[in-house]
């Protein structure tokens, strides 16, 4: 079976980010970039499915040349090949879903796994939009994935507000990976070395036939307001009083 996984290059979630003085973005100098952690979980899940059911794992990433670093990182985990969609302009979740839909049309994978959201802008929309565009069944926020022996359906356990929900979806389908789905493996040195020989195909948005027309544009980024210093309360009564009268949460 063929599994397509999407990966996004994001700033290291542990990096201390600073906004550029003109508010158009973050300062990238000296910031480390990594594979979006949820996408890494998606890659791991795809590799596990492949190890159990055989097949091929392909990753796709959109952006400028530097995203090939993240594609290589996925190849070093054991992914078979990469697709690099060279696009340097601005785009929103809808555009991403549109580009991915074209890649899916070309690749015809049995399963498409995305991270449930990217940790940089936390939009969390691409998976849903992609499913809608393709008319595929979807199972978002997966914490467990089982593929049937006949490879026709996937049983997916999802994390929902009230607990867990298990649903069965026919293939091809869209799955988005949640935090507890698995723990991604560490890239081994032999695999890092092998990754260099693996193919990465470069395509452009035009060649794919996708149209990028952002509906959402970022006007300005600002720091969250500085938190005012807290106060120490003397007693429980004091605390309850403040919660009632000042915070108005009780």
């Amino acid at each position: 079976m063929k599994i397509l996984v999407t990966i996004k290059r994001v700033s290291d979630p542990e990096a201390k980010l600073k906004i550029r003085p003109d508010g158009t973005g973050i300062q990238t100098e000296g910031v480390k970039f990594v594979v979006n952690p949820f996408d890494e979980i998606a890659v791991e899940e795809a590799l596990r499915i492949k190890e159990k059911h055989t097949g091929e794992v392909v990753v796709v990433s959109i952006g400028d040349k530097v995203v090939t670093e993240q594609i290589r990182a996925a190849l070093a985990m054991g992914v078979d090949r990469g697709i690099f969609v060279n696009y340097t302009g601005s785009y929103d979740s809808y555009d991403v879903a549109g580009i991915l839909a074209k890649v899916v049309e070309q690749e015809q994978p049995d399963i498409i796994i995305l991270g449930k959201q990217a940790v940089d802008d936390d939009m969390g929309q691409a998976g849903f939009m992609l499913a809608e565009m393709l008319g595929y069944p979807q199972a978002a926020f997966a914490s467990k994935v089982e593929i049937s022996d006949d490879k026709k359906t996937a049983k997916v356990t999802r994390e929902i507000d009230g607990g867990l929900e298990t649903k069965e979806v026919g293939l091809p389908c869209i799955i988005t990976a949640d935090l507890r789905l698995n723990t991604p493996r560490y890239a081994s040195l032999p695999n890092i070395m092998k990754a260099k020989q693996k193919p990465v195909k470069e395509v452009t948005v035009d060649a794919l036939g996708a149209v990028v027309k952002p509906h959402v544009t970022i006007k300005k980024l600002t720091e969250p307001p500085k938190r005012k210093g807290g106060v120490k309360v003397e007693s429980v009564q004091d605390l309850v009083g403040k919660l009632k009268n000042e915070a108005k949460v009780l």
């Binding site: 560490y186 890239a187 081994s188 040195l189």
Partner: protein, 381 residues
């Protein structure tokens, strides 16, 4: 990071760094308590290829150069010292003699097993009567019709209780000694006449063991001779040249971890109404530590890279080992000091790192012996 470190190695160092933070640090207290490495942790290390980094790729390793390897080791040393110890002997003193001097048959047999971590290696040179002066060793290997018969005793031998294969340095000619009378042998675990004696109880280094290794008419077949008869002392010294750099790399890794703990604590801890980081006395401790670690790091990169370019690094590796291990010890002492009473308490882990780093000034040649060798080179005609 040093620009000479390859892209692959950088990528791998990232992977190792995440492994250290996510998998090693959470279990380091339990390693210290139980003296054991969790099996799952060792399995992950094997999957990552950590046991065969320096072993050539045609024998199942990754064939890393010394510079790249040293920086992987530096990263891996930032957790518990036992984690570094279990893999570094396989990559270094436990396999290098086979890589450099082994017959094709010896390489084919042992190296893949060492590279995968299925086999654990040990290197047995030191004896009760022969420490710094290794040439004074008395373990005898006598040639007989059936092969070589070994008699004698080694001590302080790392990994001995868990090792599958020992590189043993023994005397084959009492007259010639270091001048052609010492040879190297490969001795398998379970060989008749090979016995592990007392396991030493040590100041630090919990979870990696030193023990006595005793040979009582231990028969080693001809195929177990490593290199030419009489070349054992040269083999041992060459092995240690590289080993010294890995000791330096680990010491710098531990030192860097300590320094970051020190910086963090100094900013957090308040006395006399302000963070102790605002006192000049504390600032100087941190500044000196950072400066010394930077110098040690540059010596390491330079020496390892010289080695990779085929230079003789005898003196440089002595200087690097000497400076890096002494510097890391000073860093440990300062960071412990700036933690005040907390530094003495087990919960901050600093007292453990302080005990662990202490050994680095002794093994792979004491600081005095490094100075002795540096001076000998300077003063020779």
């Amino acid at each position: 990071m040093d620009e000479r470190i390859t892209q692959d190695a950088r990528h791998f160092i990232d992977s190792v760094s995440r492994f250290v933070k996510d998998e090693c640090m959470p279990v380091e207290d339990s390693i210290e308590e139980t003296g054991r490495l969790p099996e799952a942790l060792v399995r992950t290390m094997r999957d990552m290829g950590l046991f065969g980094l320096r072993i050539p790729s045609e024998y199942g390793g990754a064939g890393m150069n010394l510079l790249d390897y040293c920086y992987v080791l530096k990263e891996l040393s930032k957790s518990h010292d036992a984690i570094r110890a279990i893999m570094s002997v396989n990559n270094g003193i436990g396999s290098m003699a086979i890589v450099n001097e082994g017959t094709e048959e010896q390489k084919r047999h042992y190296l893949p097993l060492l590279a995968s971590g299925e086999y654990i290696a040990s290197f047995a040179l030191t004896e009760p009567g022969a420490g710094s002066d290794a040439s004074a060793l008395t373990t005898m290997a006598e040639r007989t019709e059936k092969g070589w018969v070994l008699n004698g005793m080694k001590h302080f031998i790392t990994n001995a209780p868990i090792a599958d294969i020992f590189t043993v340095i023994a005397l084959t000619d009492k007259e010639k000694r270091a001048k052609g009378g010492i040879s190297a042998f490969l001795v398998d675990k379970g060989s008749r006449g090979l016995r592990i004696g007392n396991v030493h109880s040590t100041m630090g280094g919990k979870g990696w063991l030193q023990a006595e290794v005793i040979f009582e008419d231990c028969l080693v077949p001809d195929a177990g001779l490593l290199g030419m008869p009489g070349s054992g002392f040269r083999i041992a010294m060459k092995t240690l040249n590289e080993g010294r750099l890995s000791a330096a790399a680990s010491a710098i890794g531990i030192g860097e971890r300590l320094l970051s703990m020190g910086v963090e604590y100094a900013k957090l801890r308040k006395q006399f109404g302000k963070p102790i980081a605002e006192f000049e006395a504390i600032q100087w401790m941190l500044a000196d530590s950072a400066t010394e670690l930077y110098a040690a790091d540059r010596m390491l990169a330079d020496t390892a890279s010289r080695f990779d370019h085929g230079e003789d690094i005898r003196t440089h590796s002595s200087m690097t080992k000497l400076f890096a291990t002494e510097a890391a010890f000073r860093v440990a002492d300062r960071v412990l000091q700036l933690h005040g009473g907390m530094g003495f308490m087990k919960e901050t882990k600093i007292e453990r790192l302080f005990r662990d780093i202490r050994a680095y000034r002794i093994f792979e040649g004491t600081s005095e012996i490094q100075r002795f060798m540096i001076a000998r080179e300077l003063l020779k005609d």
